[in-house]
């Protein structure tokens, strides 16, 4: 803007552009061309969105040969920004010596950031591909070990992705 407040254009508009109607018609042609281009909507629930392995869905506990990998160290619980994880450790006769007798994630608090997965020393908690979560009460939203355990076959994609990129 110059000092007297008038707008300086780099190139003044042609007479056809000033009338504005031909410009409108050019725009209308573009708009009508868009009508016939493909649409990007998924007809959910008939067509689901299948995410890539790098997608951060809900956190799940990895189950190897029927036993969870988790040693109940409590690191995920400490690092969680929204205090969603609660771990209670106990002794076991297996080689790993510790196991979580109570492992609860409050899904209403979980923000799907993936810090728990990043900090876990045993690769025992990973972000799966599930994003369809429905609960009808706050009590129902607290996921215990029964809903959190998933076997390594189901989590192949994510474990492979972590192997490559960590």
């Amino acid at each position: 803007m110059s000092s007297n407040g008038k707008m300086i254009r780099k190139k003044d508009l042609t007479i056809w552009q000033k009338v504005y109607i031909p410009e409108i018609l050019k725009g209308v042609r573009l708009t009508i061309a868009q009508i016939f281009k493909p649409k990007f909507t998924y007809s959910y629930p008939e067509e689901r969105f299948e995410p890539q392995p790098s997608f951060r869905g809900r956190p799940v506990l990895v189950e190897e040969n029927g036993i969870e990998r988790c040693v109940a160290c409590g690191l995920c619980s400490r690092v969680c920004p929204s205090l969603a994880i609660e771990v209670q450790a106990s002794e076991t006769g297996l080689e790993k010596e510790r196991y979580p007798v109570k492992f609860e994630i409050n899904m209403v608090r979980c923000i799907f950031c993936g810090f728990c997965e990043e900090v876990c020393p045993e690769e025992a908690i990973v972000m799966s591909k599930e994003y369809e979560l429905v609960f009808t009460s706050q009590e129902e939203a607290v996921f215990g070990k029964d809903r959190l355990l998933k076997s390594t076959e189901e989590l192949k994609d994510r474990l492979e992705f972590l192997r490559q990129h960590r």
Partner: protein, 345 residues
Amino acid sequence: METLFLVAVIKFVLYVAVVLVAVILVGWIERRLSAFIQNRLGPNRVGPYGSLQILIDVVKLLLKEDIVPKNAYKPVHDLAPIISIAVALSTFAVVPIGNTIELFGHEVKLMIASVDVGILYMLSMTSLGVYGVTLAGWSSNNKYSLLGGLRSSAQMISYELSMGLSVIGVLMISGTLRLDQIVVHQARYLGGWLPAWNIFLQPVAFITFLVAAFAETNRLPFDLPEAEPELVAGYHTEYTGLKFGLFMLAEYSNVFTACAVITTLFLGGWHLPYVENLGLTALALSILQVLTFCVKVTLVLLFFIVVRWTIPRFRYDQLMNLGWKVMLPLALANVLVTGFVLLLI
């Protein structure tokens, strides 16, 4: 006399049904077409291809709580949407859908009222529509609503002038104010082959009237009164439930009426060229003409919707500038030139 009364009642009921169905149709076409332009599907679950979505939306609005702000002036707050919807629905009464038909030995005109002042009735009704908007903005006790209402009324009043003046050119050619006579007058041929539609005889008036129609119905690029980023929701911010639904219905109804009036005045109404020589029966011809009217109105409506997603919104000073400094002189010049040419011929 009994037959005439019965005919009048039937026409009235049919017209009300037609307007309400037309409003639903306008809403459906707008939502689906807008979605397609934006590379997405619109509503497609309710009814075939989503056609009943507007109906369900109205039902949803009916079930919502009616909230009136504490310091709002309740009588006027309740009255404003009623004015809007009453005016919007009644403007359509003078638009002829088809040619005069012979029914039971009487001549039946396919419009509710062939008043002597046809087009003036429509212009005055749109002037009354300003009341609905202004009262809504004022009575809400909300500075954004007030600004939206004032802006909208200023915009509508400014563009009514150019709308009226652009119609004068059409009136000079047709020599009558009655809309059905204007359409009959356009059912001629110039030079033997060109239909004498007013868009060919009065192109400047057509453009002026089109732009003014966009401004009257608060449609982009002139939709500053309802611009969400600027005025929250403009004059209907404080309205919930059915009252808000009435404003939406009134807006769609205004769009439909504007398209119908543009078709009647400039595009030849129900006239389909070269079809009289085919020798069809009177009934088939009537049906064809009504269908032609519908197709023409739909085309103008598509233009309205596509332009909405093409042009950026006008700023308020640009809007008033256009209305007073460009459209008004253009319409006046059109009247001058038309009068001059008519004197020479």
